[in-house]
Every structure is written in structure tokens, then in C-alpha cells.
């Protein structure tokens, strides 16, 4: 990989005299994607993208390229300057991030960075071999990414991170189970164990039956609760949505919104997650308490929206291509509880359903926090406090405030669940959450059975 900070400085130097910011995102990664027990889409990616943002006379514009020779960068600067010249002056434009001391975070692992295609294929094969005769679908991926920012404010920041994920769907006709592990240290991931977890879950899903629409008590595995929280992040936890009154948090800051067992923070510095010290504007990451013992505390902020709100950014700006979404919490940590296992949560639930993971969520009503989707790859009935017969995939339509209003329990163990689907430039992120019991999970229909 190229020297990302040096590259950012080269780009910045080409617009000397203007307020400008150069951001470099570099990636070297491999995906050993498998289906039906063989690697079918192995993909190696190596790219370096330079983004140059120029502010001139209160107007902001940007350009990007992956041509990193002098000609490419000169052309980039010309296009960025032209873009800025095309904008209207913006009196609310936030100034570029000043230099700031960044926290020292972990998040880079040399053995993970050194993994090559042979290793990725070998680790994928380890998962496949452990799938106990079931077809295995998913991937092993690892990558090393660099983020470098050089700004006319004097900001110079560079961070190198690694990430690895093994995702396993063990499936045949009529049965399927799911598991995944992600870490910035590939050595912490045992692909065979991930596959075995998925296969064991799959074996329990044979003979699934329907369950009628109703409001159930439920146990949600970390995979499920992490995804529900992630879909809440774009509106509920987003400072821009708060300002625009699109967030359920609007008008509720300081009020009790959820069960006192619910504490949510966004902590990008947490070494148990996928830590990073800065966001894509160069602002140091802050630990933000979103919900404290059920009380609504705050949202996350980027520079633009923080300025409008008269406060400071919390270091949650997205990459430029998606920044118009506002700030998004990408490292949510949900505090654990006391339950030793999800089986213990089932005891707390007594009668209800058990949900392993979810599929294709959609926000029905952002302001009310209403989300729909399907359960998948391990849905069971809970009877008499025990996980009982398997169920078909169920459609749910839940209000997140209602889902979190009465939480009978949470597991002591938490799990880091990847939320990155690796579109565009690679950027791994995930939520660390426990298993959770809820008093209200609204099932509104049923779909196909488990399996292929």
C-alpha cells in the first residue's frame, strides 16, 4: 500500500492558498466467499482513493480520484476547485477540523494485515470443513485499510486498521443456522467454530412450524438486536435527524424512554470493537452516551450538524459520499446484564419466541422507530422457559421504543456483530451487544421455512 498521509499531503499541496482537506482511503483486502461448500466468488481488492475538498469564499466542493500520480492529483485539484467555484456560499458551512490529539487506539494487527489470498482461502476452507455435512454459505474476509487526512488547518492524521470476519450460514433444504465472528485480530476468529455454531443451530431448525401473528415475549440473540439497533442509528441516534425532528429522541432528551436495563453508548475507541481514533472529517472519536439506564441522553454528531446545534462534533462523520445522511453511530455498545446465557433469558421469557437473526429490515416510520423485517436461520418457540420447536421465518413489525421499554434481562456476554456489508471503499464497523429478552416483539406474519 502507498504512504497514505504522504499522498494526502501531495494532494493538499496542489490547492495551496485555499481552505482544503485531503482524505485518503486505501484498502487491500480479500474475500473468500463460499456457497454450498466451495469458494465460488474469491475477490481480491487493492485500491487507493483520494478525496479533495476545497472551501473558497464560503463555497465547498470536492472531487475524488484513484489516479495517484502527479497528473491524476493535479487533475483532482482542478476538479475540486471547480466544484467549489460552482457552489453557492453557505453561511452555515462548518470550518474544517482543526488539529487535535488523537487517542491511541488498538485496531491494527500485523498478522491480520499479512494475511494473503492463500490464507483467506485456507481459513474459508476451515469453515467449510467444519460444517458437519451441511452446505456452508458465507465468507472469510480480511483486510487492511488506511485513512489519512491532511488539512489546511494543519491537521495531519493517519490511521491503519485491520479487520476480519467469518460469516457462516449452514443450510440445506428445510434447515439453516447462522453464526459470525468479527475482530480486528483475525487470530481471534476460529472459522471452524463459527461453522460448527451455525451447523448446530441449523440441525435444530428441521420441521419448522408456523406461529400466528401476535405480540410475543422474545429472546433476541446478539445478531438480531445489533441489526435492530443499527437500523435505528440512521434516525434515532443521528444528530441531524434530531435537529430535523425526525428522530424519536426529539423532545425526549433527558426523559426516560426505555427499560432501566438499557444503556447504549457509541464507543469507537473500545478495543473490543473495531477501534479507530478519528472520523472521516478528522475529528477525534468521542464516547457518546446515547441511553443511560433507560434515560435518553444524546445522539452522535458530525461537524456540520453540530455547528447548527451549537455544539461540538463527537467524531461521527461518515465518508464524504454518504455524509448527507448526517452522523451515524457505528460502534454502539449495549451494556450487558446478568443472564449467563440466552437459555436463561428464555426462562425469563417463559412463553414466547427465540430469534437468532433478522433479514431485510425496513424502516416503516422513522419518527416512531417502527421497523419491519423477517426472522431467519434459527427461530424457535419458547415454552415453559425452554427453547422448544423450530418456527418458520416470521415477519415482525416492531416499535423500537416498545421493544426496549420492558427488558426482562440481558446476557452477561456480549458479541461484536459486524454491520458492514463492504459496499464501496472498505470500512469495517460493528456493534457489541448482549443477547436480550423483550416483553414485546410484534409478529405480523409468516414467511418461508428455514433453509435454502
Amino acid at each position: 500500500m502507498t504512504d497514505a498521509l504522504e499522498l494526502a499531503e501531495r494532494a493538499l499541496a496542489l490547492v495551496d492558498g485555499d481552505a482544503a482537506e485531503a482524505v485518503v482511503m486505501a484498502e487491500r483486502s480479500g474475500f473468500a466467499r463460499y456457497a454450498a461448500g466451495e469458494v465460488h466468488q474469491p475477490t481480491l481488492i487493492d485500491d487507493t482513493v483520494v478525496q479533495l475538498r476545497v472551501i473558497r469564499d464560503g463555497c465547498s466542493g470536492s472531487a475524488t480520484t484513484n489516479r495517484i500520480d502527479d497528473e491524476g492529483l493535479t487533475d483532482l485539484a482542478g476538479r475540486a476547485v471547480a466544484a467549489a467555484a460552482s457552489a453557492d456560499p453557505d453561511p452555515e458551512l462548518a470550518p474544517l477540523a482543526p488539529p487535535a490529539e488523537l487517542a491511541k487506539v488498538e485496531g491494527y494487527d500485523e498478522p491480520t494485515a499479512a494475511l494473503g489470498a492463500d490464507d483467506q482461502a485456507r481459513l474459508a476452507e476451515a469453515a467449510i470443513a467444519a460444517s458437519d455435512g451441511l452446505g456452508l454459505y458465507g465468507f472469510f474476509t480480511s483486510g487492511v485499510c488506511e485513512l489519512a487526512i491532511a488539512s489546511s488547518t494543519g491537521l495531519r492524521a493517519h490511521e491503519r486498521t485491520t479487520d476480519a470476519t467469518c460469516l457462516a450460514l449452514a443450510a440445506v433444504d428445510g434447515a439453516s443456522g447462522y453464526a459470525e465472528r468479527t475482530s480486528w485480530r483475525a487470530g481471534e476468529i476460529d472459522p471452524a467454530a463459527v461453522a460448527r455454531e451455525a451447523a448446530a443451530k441449523a440441525e435444530r431448525t428441521r420441521g419448522a412450524v408456523d406461529a400466528p401473528p401476535a405480540r410475543y415475549r422474545a429472546v433476541l440473540e446478539p445478531y438480531a438486536i445489533a441489526e435492530l439497533l443499527y437500523y435505528s442509528a440512521f434516525d434515532m441516534f443521528n444528530g441531524q435527524a434530531l435537529l430535523e425532528e425526525r428522530s424519536w429522541f426529539a423532545g425526549r432528551i433527558g426523559e426516560r424512554g426505555f427499560d432501566p436495563k438499557v444503556t447504549l453508548v457509541d464507543d469507537g475507541l473500545d478495543p473490543r470493537g473495531l477501534p479507530r481514533s478519528l472520523d472521516f472529517e478528522g475529528t477525534p472519536k468521542q464516547r457518546v452516551v446515547l441511553v443511560e439506564e433507560g434515560v435518553i441522553r444524546d445522539t452522535v454528531w458530525d461537524r456540520e450538524n453540530a455547528a447548527r446545534a451549537g455544539r461540538a462534533s463527537t467524531g461521527h462523520a461518515l465518508p464524504l459520499a454518504t455524509r448527507a445522511e448526517g452522523a451515524v453511530a457505528t460502534a454502539v455498545v449495549m451494556s450487558p446484564g446478568e443472564a449467563e446465557s440466552t437459555d436463561e433469558l428464555a426462562e425469563l421469557v417463559g412463553d414466547g419466541i427465540y430469534v437468532t437473526r433478522l433479514h431485510y429490515l425496513g424502516v416503516v416510520n422513522a419518527r416512531e422507530g417502527v421497523i419491519t423485517g423477517m426472522t431467519k436461520d434459527g427461530t424457535f418457540r419458547i415454552r415453559d422457559g425452554k427453547v422448544a420447536e423450530p418456527l418458520v421465518n416470521l415477519r415482525f413489525t416492531v416499535s423500537m421504543p416498545e421493544l426496549l421499554a420492558d427488558v426482562p434481562g440481558l446476557t452477561r456476554e456480549t458479541l461484536l456483530v459486524s454491520q458492514s456489508d463492504f459496499y464501496d471503499e472498505r470500512w469495517a464497523y460493528g456493534y457489541r451487544v448482549p443477547g436480550m429478552a423483550t416483553a414485546c416483539f410484534n409478529v405480523t406474519g409468516s414467511g418461508s421455512g428455514p433453509g435454502l
Binding site: S29, G30, A32, R33, E38, V39, H40, Q41, P42, T43, L44, D46, D47, V49, G61, S62, A63, T64, N66, R79, A80, A82, A83, A84, A85, S86, A87, D88, A117, Q120, G138, T141, L167, E244, E245, R246, A250, G251, L320, A324, H359, Y360, G362, V364, N365, A366, R367, T372, M374, K376, N393, R395, E402, D421, F422, Y423, N442, T444, G447, S448
Partner: protein
């Protein structure tokens, strides 16, 4: 570009590949977005590189390089071969035969969208957005986009294809917030970042964003005062905009043959369809005719050749309600023994081609939308997508629409908010009893269709007329 592609294919064959193809791509795109009078997105982006796909010992491999020279191309080819060899696999992959040849494609473009000055794009957005201002509108947004992509495809089968794709698009959204915390949104021309077409800037000009803006804002404000859509079972007339997503989710994805064979199971999902369903499965009523057509003028899925070099061809997918085709690659076409491929598309040079939708249309029926409505004693007219979700086999779906109009005795009545409807794919399509005619048929271009690991976005178009369905569950509550 040609030398780089040729070097990649030669290097792959030299390294033991039995098949290799190389795609060199130069992509330039511009995005402009404004929000409440401020320019929030103004980006001029470019990306270039080469992607090399190989078959070694019956296993696929893919690698890419941003350097568009022979060195970068060769290195990518060798990495792809090494990855394929390391990945192993069960081997025995066959590709549907292809008469390889040379070709080129370029859509008709009146006004080069990249050449339109950025300041003109900004000004259009600001004018459209200004026209949406009213007290109830908390967020007014406008956006336009332009894209030009040149790509060269070479394969070891002897194909050499040069194509240029050009896209233009735009849209507006108004979000109204009431004193009671109700939030409602209206969008035009579509809910998904507007709509795009493979056309020049004349497409954006033809959208009339400024002209439509006051109506969009007024309707968003009206929704604040509307009653909530009640729950029940109803006859629904679904407008052409929502129908495009209905087609996309409940016909497009399940007929992707890679999903049918399970190779997308870990992410996008599988399909309720089986290979043996071809020609026999009743998908819907006799009014249902769906066509995959990468030759449709202006479609985002329009090309001369797909990313395997297969020439574009029109394929019936559902004919009078019966499954009559799949979206295929050369590999899946060979596996099912039907078709030639032709639906393989990659999101840029950094991604491996996947089976994707091209342009998938609901063919028109007859009559006007008013005629469809006039035949409904009691029901709902649903307009513009708001939310969407469907299960992994593409059976159980739930959609929400921005607006719903009560239908009473064949006439449009009061406005309703927060409408949703849900169903199971074949049962729902089986309840289709009329599709409006060609005059009501509109094509939209979506740019946010996701699939694959690593993720790939696809640009696809759908044409549809409003359609009527009986006995639909509406008003799903949380």
C-alpha cells in the same frame, strides 16, 4: 486499455487459466445535493482500473488493480489465478457457449450530462428546493447526478467489446413535521433518490423538478392532517412508482438464477423458485407479464453486452402468469440448460460480475388508471414507495407507501397516511386482476440495488403501469 486487457488475459492463460476475461473501466460521476437552501453534496468523482476474472481448475478467481497499464493488469491476472488455485472448489464449471465477437455500444445522448456545468446543476437543485418551501416542510431536498462509464471487455473466448454508459438523474423530497410529532414525506419522481435513466441531461430537464415541487410540498403538508390508513383486507390499485419496487423485489430478485441455486444465500437470500419451475410455475394471474429487456431505450440496465460479453436480448420472465425465464449468467444458464446468460453485471472494476437485473418491466394491460379505480367499489389507491422489506426467499413482503387514497364507489376519496400492505408473492400476483395500459406505463431507474459480498450496487430500471390487486392485507401496525 486494450493493451492492459490483452495483457491480463494472456497472463491468466499463461498461469493456467482455462478461461479469463478482463474489464477495464473509466468512470466519471458527479453528484449535487441541496438541503434547506444549502449545498450539502457537490462531488466530481472518477475511478479507473481493471478487473480480471479467471477460471483455474474449474474454480473462479477475481482480482483487480487501479493501474490501467499492462503491469497492473498482469499482476491482477496472476493474483486472480493464485486465488482461484488456492480456493480450490469442486471444479467442473461449464459456461454456456458464446459466439464471441467484437462489438460496441453507446446510448443516444443529446446533452452530455458531465458537460453540464456544475453551477447549473446546483442552481436547478436550489430552485426546485425553494419551490417546496412552506411552513410545514422541515426538510426540503433536491439532488441530481450524472455518470459516464467507458469500459472495454476482452475474454479468452475472443470477445472484444467497447461500451460507453451514460446516466442522468434527479429528484426532490419534502419532509413535513407536524406539531404532534407526525413526520410525513413526499418524493418525486420516485422515493429512491429520484429516478435516473441512461440518457443525457435532457432526461433531468424533462423531469420538471421545479414544476412538481409545489405539489410535492403541498402533499407532504396534507399528509400531516390525513387520517391513518386503517387495517383490513382491501382491493388496492398500486401506482406505477410503487409497482416498480413490487416488480423489483418480488419478481426481479427471485428470478435471479444464482439465488435459485443458492450462491447468494448468505446475504441477499435465495428464492422460492426451483429450476424445475421453469415453464410450469404459476407466478400470478393471466394479467401478469414480466419481461427482462436490456435493450429498452433509456434503461439503466440497457447495454449492448453484459459483463460476460453476452449480447443484450429481451427475455420473457413471466408470461400470462407462468414462469417463463430466469435472469442468468453463462454458468447458471449452462447449469439449467436454458438461455445464454446475459444478466451478469459488476459494480465497477473492483467487483466480480453477478447475476443482476437489467430492465425488468411489468408489461402494460389496457385502459386508464381512472378506469381501474372506477371498477372498485371500496379500496385504496397507493402511491409512491415509503418502506420495503421481503423475506430471503422473496415470499413474504411488506411495503409502505407515502400516500393512500380511499376509493369509494369507484372514485378517489379522502387522503390517508402511513399506509402499508403485505402479502405472499404468488398469492399476491395471483390476485392481480388488471394492469393499466401503455399510456400509463412509466419507467423508473433505481441506483441502489444491493447484492453480493463484498457489496455491489446495481443500477436497474423498471417500467410499470398502475395495477389492481384484490384481497390485500393493508394497514399493518407495530
Amino acid at each position: 486499455m486494450r493493451a492492459a486487457c490483452a495483457a491480463a488475459v494472456d497472463a491468466a492463460l499463461g498461469a493456467g487459466a482455462t478461461y479469463a476475461d478482463a474489464r477495464a473501466i473509466l468512470r466519471r460521476s458527479q453528484s449535487v445535493g441541496t438541503r434547506n437552501g444549502r449545498v450539502i453534496t457537490l462531488t466530481d468523482a472518477e475511478s479507473e482500473g481493471i478487473g480480471v476474472r479467471v477460471l483455474v481448475g474449474g474454480s473462479w478467481g477475481f482480482a483487480c488493480d487501479r493501474r490501467l497499464d499492462e503491469t497492473g493488469a498482469r499482476e491482477a491476472a496472476l493474483r486472480a489465478c493464485a486465488f482461484a488455485a488456492a480456493a480450490g472448489g469442486n471444479g467442473g464449471r461449464a459456461l454456456a457457449p458464446l459466439e464471441a465477437g467484437s462489438g460496441s455500444f453507446r446510448p443516444p445522448v443529446e446533452i452530455d450530462p458531465i458537460a453540464v456545468p456544475l453551477e447549473d446543476k446546483v442552481a436547478l437543485c436550489l430552485r426546485a428546493e425553494e419551490a417546496m418551501r412552506r411552513p410545514e416542510i422541515k426538510v426540503a431536498q433536491a439532488s441530481v447526478r450524472a455518470l459516464r462509464e467507458r469500459k472495454l471487455f476482452l475474454s479468452s473466448d475472443g470477445a472484444e467489446i467497447e461500451q460507453e454508459l451514460v446516466e442522468s438523474g434527479g429528484g426532490i423530497d419534502a419532509t413535513a413535521v407536524g406539531d404532534d410529532g407526525i413526520v410525513q414525506q413526499r418524493s418525486y419522481p420516485s422515493a429512491h433518490v429520484g429516478s435516473s435513466a441512461q440518457a443525457g441531461w435532457e432526461y433531468v430537464e424533462g423531469l420538471g423538478l421545479e414544476h412538481e415541487a409545489p405539489r410535492v410540498a403541498e402533499q407532504a403538508a396534507q399528509l400531516l392532517r390525513a387520517d391513518e390508513c386503517p387495517a383490513g383486507v382491501a382491493t388496492v390499485v398500486i401506482d406505477h412508482e410503487q409497482m416498480q419496487l413490487q416488480v423489483h423485489e418480488s419478481v426481479g430478485h427471485p428470478t435471479e438464477l444464482d439465488r435459485v441455486y443458492g450462491t447468494e444465500a448468505a446475504y441477499a437470500g435465495t428464492s422460492f423458485l426451483h429450476p424445475t419451475d421453469l415453464g410450469t410455475l404459476r407466478y400470478g394471474s393471466e394479467h401478469m407479464n414480466i419481461t427482462a429487456d436490456p435493450t429498452t431505450p433509456g434503461g439503466l440496465g440497457t447495454f449492448g453486452f453484459d459483463d460476460e460479453g453476452v449480447p443484450a436480448a429481451r427475455t420473457p420472465i413471466v408470461s400470462e402468469g407462468v414462469l417463463s425465464g430466469f435472469l442468468t449468467s453463462r454458468e447458471t444458464a449452462a447449469k439449467i440448460g436454458h438461455g445464454d446468460g446475459g444478466s451478469m453485471r459488476a459494480d465497477g472494476w473492483q467487483r466480480m460480475p453477478l447475476v443482476r437485473m437489467t430492465n425488468l418491466h411489468l408489461e402494460p394491460g389496457s385502459g386508464t388508471v381512472d378506469e381501474l379505480i372506477s371498477e372498485v367499489p371500496e379500496g385504496l389507491y397507493l402511491e409512491t414507495n415509503r418502506s420495503w422489506s421481503i423475506d430471503d426467499k422473496r415470499l413474504n413482503f411488506q411495503f409502505g407507501t407515502q400516500m393512500a387514497w380511499e376509493i369509494k364507489r369507484g372514485r378517489i376519496g379522502r387522503l390517508l397516511r402511513d399506509a402499508t400492505y403485505t402479502g405472499v408473492t404468488p398469492r399476491f400476483w395471483g390476485s392481480l386482476d388488471r394492469v393499466a395500459g401503455p399510456e400509463a406505463w412509466v419507467m423508473y431507474g433505481l441506483t441502489n440495488c444491493g447484492k453480493g459480498q463484498p457489496g455491489q450496487g446495481a443500477h436497474v430500471s423498471h417500467g410499470a403501469s398502475a395495477a389492481r390487486f384484490r384481497d390485500v392485507q393493508v394497514g399493518v401496525k407495530s
